[in-house]
């Protein structure tokens, strides 16, 4: 699986956040901060913020070190997080 799949999955979280009314969180850590806002508002469980932080750490590793992360797992988790965000009302 290509690194691009990780990038695309991270971008999907960004898109989901904007779809529920967030200002553009940008391409990097803004996703984490936005998910934390949803947690603080009681709209998501803290485990989602933890997942967002973990995914961001993996994104950074893939980005600069070319480190090997489990990309299938990344995409699976990112998709779940995107869906959870999309379900927020």
């Amino acid at each position: 699986m290509a690194r691009q799949d990780v990038y695309d999955a991270w971008a999907t979280i960004r898109t989901s956040l904007m779809a529920i009314g967030f200002d553009d969180p940008g391409a990097l850590g803004g996703n984490v901060a936005a998910v934390q806002v949803l947690v603080d508002e009681g709209k998501l469980d803290q485990s989602w913020a933890d997942m967002a932080l973990s995914l961001f750490s993996d994104l950074v590793d893939v980005g600069d070190h070319n480190n090997d992360v489990n990309q299938t797992s990344f995409v699976t988790k990112a998709t779940k997080l995107s869906n959870a965000i999309a379900a927020v009302t």
């Binding site: 391409a27 600069d64 070319n66």
Partner: protein
Amino acid sequence: MAPWVNRTVASGASVAANGTTSHTVAYTTPTLGNKLYAVCDGGVTFTTPSGWTLIGSAVNNTGLYAFSKTAVSGDVATPSFVTTHNASNYAIQVVIYEFPAGSAGVGTPGSAINTAVGSAVNGPACTSLTGTYSRWDVRAQIATAASTAASTAWTLPTTEDFDVLVLHSTNDGCYMTIAYDEGATGTSFTPNANTSSILGTPCEDLSFAITIAAAAASIPEFVQPPRIPY
């Protein structure tokens, strides 16, 4: 006198938002064997360019990176710095320094996300240093549509070399500032600076040190001795 042999501040299309996920930056043709350091920043991740070594990174709202390499023949023939990102159409900033052959990184670089902006805050300590070295610190900040100005007052290192804000345009821009000191000693240093920005967002911060070798002495031209009349 500045400690570098050459310094390239990338500009124009090489660093502008270009609708793609990569940038190619040309820099001043280096001398074979000289040491190159690249410092770069943008609202995206940066892959480590082929042949370069990651010195350190601080990634949060921006991706701030420092890379180094020794110039090889390929760099002399085609000096280019190629990196790719996790998102497309973002402007970046790149400054590439060339130091004399034999220069090398020293100590353990520091990396941090500073949460305090608008007051003097410490950067990450660079530790395990030995001898006499040049100390460096780089700060970066994301530039959203609301960001129209940013500046940094450096306390340590003391000499500001770079301070540029690239404004938001479609996507986020970035702010980066670089400071250094020559002839530093001690086993560690802790940068300190006050970054003023209307954003109030955290800033990314990197510190590192370089032992800079003496530049090779140029070979003096042969001077014809005066003829002795006889």
